[in-house]
Every structure is written in C-alpha cells, then in structure tokens.
C-alpha cells in the first residue's frame, strides 16, 4: 500500500498504487436542482455505446430517483453498510475509513458482488417520493417529503477501485485526460472490478465475457467535444471539463470555479476514498442528513452558496453556459451581461446572454384583431 493525498477527504490515505495525477482530469458537474429525470442521457449513452448483445441491462449512464431508486439494486446502501460507520466532523479531515483502508487484508477494497437479479431493475423506485404530501401539508425548505434524481456515470476516479482490484492490470487510467478504461483485449471477465467499484459502474458483458464500463466518450473528448450524455442533456444540468486539484485550481476553468472557487458542487460519497470526478450541486429541497451522508459535511454550506447565486452574475453566466455548447469549455468569462466560453486554444466557442431578453406577447393581437393562443 502506498500513501496518497486525497483532497476530497483533506488527508492522506492508503491506496495500492502510488499517487499519479494525470495531465488533465475528465470531470462532469451536475446541477441536481435542475435534473428532470428524463433519461435522455441514459439513451444518448445507450444508443452510442451499448445497444448490442450482452449490453441489454447495461447502463453506463443511469438516472436513479433518490432515496428509493438504485441501480444495481441497493448498491449505495450495501456499500455503506459494508464500510461501516463513517465519522466526519465539519471542517475536519474525514476520520472514518475508506474502502481501501477498511478492506480485509485478503482483498483490495471493501466490496460486494451484485448478482444477476440486482441488475434487472434499472428503473426501481423511479419517481417515488419519500411519502405522501397529503391534505393540509405545505412545502417547506427542505421538504418533509422529497425525492431527487441522481444521474450517474463512471467517475473516472483519481484512485479507482476497479483498477486497483484487477489482478490482470487490464484497467488503466489515461495520462492525457484521466479517463479510466478496461482493456477489452486483456480482460478475462473475472469481474473483480465489478465487485470492487463501490459505485458499481463497471459491468460484465455475458456475451463477450469481459467487463465494460463508461469510456468517458473519449473519442469525443479527444476532438474537444463533451460526452454524449452531456451534449444531449435536456435539462442542461451538466458540464464536462477538466478539474484541477485545489492547489492548482484556475478561476476561469468552469469546473474548478464550480467545485473549488465557489464551492457549489461536491463529489458523491467521497468517504469511500476514490476521489471520484463527478460532482453534484446538491438539491436544496432534500433531507439534509441524507445529503450529508451522500456529499459529506460541507453540504449545508454548499447549499447556502447556491442560494446566493441570485446576486452573482458570474456564476449565473457560467450556469447558462451549461448545455449551450457541445465543445469542452476550457476557460470562461462573464462581462456586460454575456457569458463567453473558450476552447483549449483560446478561441471563442460561444457567447450567451446571462439573462435572455424578455418579450411580452399580449393576449390580444391589435393588428389582426384576434385573441392569441398557443395552439400550434
């Protein structure tokens, strides 16, 4: 075991390999306040990558309704249960154990192996609320009864458990963008990665008899494009970019800005210790204890930061850039009511108004002398 730095936990931790950060690190930020659970992302991924034999139940991208939904079945509850009590005081390093530290010496990580049936209900719990909003109840913030959608891809972790667990070293993390891939020519289908990935984002294909996972849409990323699940997001809740560790954070990098500078987005289940690289703007209406379990003790602060956006034109500008371009935004700026996005070379990709101009159509059309309606 080597000792590595995990900034999400604010401490050193054990990992089977030395710390080695890639030149750039692929990352997605999701604004959970905006996800409508339409599953367009799941379909975008599926039609691009997993429409073949053996991939019938394979969702590299999935959207589950929290708290009842999960895919594979109860992955989160089962991993947390295996890990045991996870203690984390606010503004302190995480004092519990990670999946690597809590592992039996005979194993690389705390794990469980989902069975066939566990992969058969990708929509379990969809749209289920924690309880009924019955007569006399009114909405408070956070809500008494709540649910939210959690879209998930592979997190292309800085310390991937899938990679650590593969006895054939068939999983590798790319130097150029941090994308974690399973070598399809060397995998022998032992499914150790499926057991070890706590997020259950490595999946076995019974037809090819090897494991597969989200490829981060690397062919698109190599061309400077965002992944399919990001490009096609209906709610425009996602942005893919490259994240730096906090000590190298750049204020004009959209992902760094959201995660480090403004502290609006948090990694999910950071206590597992993988330094996952998908980040979430937490939903402000959901139960706080649940959110603390999922995003760590900073979540309340982050929600407060989110509420301040109404007075923050720069962040507003960045949020409207989400979903406004298919290209990867390396740098952004907001000035005079417009948000600008730039590519790696510094060329402008897109300019969008921070606030759309408002047009009011009166119900009565003076010129034609008719009532307007919205019937197409």
């Amino acid at each position: 075991m080597a000792t590595v730095k995990n900034w999400q936990l604010d401490r050193q931790m054990d990992y089977p390999y030395e710390e080695h950060r890639p030149k750039k690190q692929w990352a997605i930020v999701f604004d959970l306040n905006k996800c409508i659970g339409c599953q367009t992302c799941s379909l975008a991924c599926k039609t691009t990558w997993t429409s073949g034999k053996g991939q019938e139940y394979m969702f590299w991208n999935n959207v589950e309704t929290k708290p009842w939904g999960s895919y594979p079945l109860a992955w989160d509850v089962r991993v947390l249960e295996k890990l045991g009590y996870q203690h984390w005081d606010k503004n302190k390093p995480y004092s519990g154990k990670t999946v690597f530290e809590a592992a039996d010496p005979a194993e690389k990580a705390v794990h469980f192996n989902p069975q066939d049936e566990d992969w058969m209900y990708p929509n379990r719990g969809e749209d289920d609320c924690t309880g009924n909003v019955s007569g006399g109840k009114y909405l408070t913030l956070p809500h008494d009864n709540w649910f939210f959608y959690l879209p998930r891809t592979c997190a292309h972790c800085t310390y991937p458990a899938c990679l650590a667990a593969c006895p054939r070293k068939a999983i590798y993390k790319r130097e150029e963008d941090g994308i974690v891939l399973i070598d399809q020519s060397r995998c022998k289908g032992y499914q150790e990665c499926v057991r070890a990935c706590p997020y259950k984002k490595s999946m076995y294909n019974p037809y090819t008899r090897v494991s597969e996972k989200c490829v981060g849409c690397y062919p698109a990323v190599e061309e400077g494009k965002q992944p399919m699940c990001v490009q096609n997001c209906i709610g425009k809740i996602r942005i893919m970019g490259f994240i730096n560790p906090p000590w190298n954070a750049r204020e004009d990098n959209p992902v760094d800005y959201l995660v480090h500078k403004k502290e609006l987005a948090l990694p999910y289940y950071p206590q597992l210790g993988l330094e996952p690289n998908i980040y979430y703007v937490p939903p402000i209406h959901a139960n706080r204890e649940y959110l603390i379990q999922m995003f760590g003790p900073k979540v309340e602060e982050v929600i407060e930061n989110y509420k301040k956006i109404k007075n923050d034109p720069i962040t507003q500008g960045l949020l409207v850039l989400m979903g406004s371009t298919d290209n990867i935004i390396h740098r952004f700026k907001v000035s005079e009511g417009s948000a600008y996005a730039f590519d790696e070379k510094g060329d402008q990709i897109v300019r969008v108004p921070v606030t759309e101009p408002l047009f009011i159509r009166t119900p009565w059309d003076e010129k034609l002398g008719v009532i307007r309606n919205n019937t197409p």
Partner: protein, 294 residues
C-alpha cells in the same frame, strides 16, 4: 504477512531439490491412442491416482478466505507422443458461468518452459515463463453446444431489437442496409479487440503462457484436448476431467520420455465465487517422472 509468505516460498524452494516429493507423479507409459479423449478408458483403471494437496491461494489479493478444494486426484499416462491427465475433485454443484456474477468450475496445470529451470511456482516470473493448460466447464459447454448466445444464457429473455441488426433488415436507408456483420462487431468490443474470451472455445481448454501473476496470454490453435463430466455422488458431487497434450508443445513446454519435469495445479469452484486469483493451488512444484518407452 507478506514477509512470512515469502519466507515460506524460499523454504519450499529449497525443498524441491531435497525430495519433498522424491517420488512425485509418475506418468505411466501405455500403448494407447491418447489424442482421443476417453474418461472411462480401461487403462485408467491400472493407474493409481495420486492425491495432490491444495491450499487457498495465499500470495496476491484477492485471496480466498478458505480452501474450498483440498484434494485433487491425478492420474497421468503417456504414449511417447501424447500425455493424458485424468483429474477428479469434489464439487457439490456444476457451475458453467454464463449470467452476470456466475463463475465456472475449472482446473489448470502448469509446466516450466525452459529446460533445467524451475520458475517461481505462482505463474512464473519475468523471463522465467510457465506454460498453462486451463480447462473450464464454461469452455466445455462451448465445445459441446457452441458459443453461448444471450438466448442460451437467458432462455426467457426477450429483446425488442438490436438496432444495427434491425437496421440491416428493415431500414429504408440503403447505407444502413449494407452494414455487414463485421461492421456490427466493431461495437462488440471484446470481439473487435480480438479477446480470446469472446470467441468459442472449440477445444474446451485454453493453452497459455505466463510470466507472473495476471500476465497469462492465450496461445492460438492449441493442440491440447479436454473433456470433463460432473457427476452426482450422494449429497456431494465430483468432476472428472481429462486433459491431453502432445509431449512436445512447441513454443510451450517440451516433455520427454525418460526424463523428469515439474507440474503445478489449481482448481476453481465457480459456484462458490472462485475465479482468477480466488482459487486452490499447490504451493510447491510437483515432480513429474515420465517413464521411458518400453
């Protein structure tokens, strides 16, 4: 922990020469056609099975928690050209893999490659290769019933359509109609990457070279043959498996009548989740004494 195991390794290394297995396995010379597989051939009755003790693989994580297969019974014969092994071990259920999270029962045998050099027991080391024959119940099924399709693995499964196949048949778009099987397979990543796992195992056995844990790579066009049968024995059950190989497998291990070599063994109980490093193994090389032709 690791230190202790290494110490154990060194000790066992010294023991080889000292004749821990002074006798070892004797490959009896028979005048039979051994390239044909026959688990019930009469000559097997004349060869006393040797008991090989196995323990849970102790070297690299993931390690199994306990030894599931403690004993492997082995018989060996040769006819100057071919060598045949007949194995028997207890396994209460037949596991042939297929669905997600299900693994296959298997047995593997390992031979040194370089003459007069015994590589590290655990799958060799860099520049000290080993040669492995690996039989799996899953491969056996391939051999008997053909490559397992999704319909074979999940008989009750229903799939509306696989878009590329659908396009092929029903599309009005001439370009889509022309998509060939080969083009479709680009999206079947295991196959398009040429992974031997993703193709039918016509012999029921894989032949591999390895230079250390996790480094095994499959040799194409193996000449080895294998056949296995699982039979119920009261509440228990057992596998009987035959693996036959030419004495000389070019590019692999070369065995010669009248000489001594070494072997190592591994067994997996797929039904208990054993796969890859989760296996029962021999901790030392077992001498293989190959009788001279008579």
């Amino acid at each position: 922990m690791m230190k202790k195991i290494y110490a154990l390794m060194v000790v066992s290394y010294l023991l080889w020469g000292q004749g821990l297995w002074a006798e070892g396995l004797i490959a009896k010379y028979v005048k039979e056609d051994l390239s044909k597989l026959n688990l019930e051939a009469l000559f097997w009755k004349e060869v006393t099975p040797e008991t090989i003790q196995l323990i849970a693989q102790p070297m690299v994580a993931p390690r199994p928690q306990k030894t599931l297969t403690e004993k492997l019974w082995v018989q060996v014969v040769h006819n100057g050209e071919w060598m045949a092994f007949r194995f028997k071990w207890k396994d209460k259920e037949k596991s042939e893999a297929g669905p997600l999270g299900k693994f296959s029962d298997a047995v593997a045998i390992q031979f040194p490659v370089k003459e007069k050099e015994v590589p590290p027991i655990f799958m060799g080391a860099k520049d000290s290769p080993v040669h492995i024959l690996h039989w799996r119940a899953q491969y056996q099924k391939d051999k008997e019933k053909g490559f397992q399709t999704m319909k074979d693995i999940y008989p009750n499964m229903n799939m509306d359509m696989y878009p590329l196949e659908f396009a092929n048949q029903y599309s009005h778009d001439e370009m889509l109609k022309k998509i060939t099987e080969e083009q479709r397979e680009v999206f079947v990543s295991g196959k398009s990457a040429g992974n031997p796992q993703s193709f039918q195992k016509i012999k029921g056995v894989d032949e591999m070279m390895a230079e250390g844990f996790g480094s095994s790579s499959v040799i194409e066009n193996t000449r080895a043959e294998a056949q296995g049968i699982w039979q119920k024995k009261g509440k228990e059950g057992e596998w009987v498996v035959q693996i036959s190989r030419p004495l000389a497998l070019e590019g692999g291990s070369i065995l010669k009548a009248g000489q001594k070599s070494f072997m190592a063994f591994a067994v997996w109980q797929g039904g208990e989740g054993e796969v890859g490093c989760r296996k029962s193994v021999t901790m030392t090389w077992v001498p293989l004494i190959i009788e001279d032709k008579k």
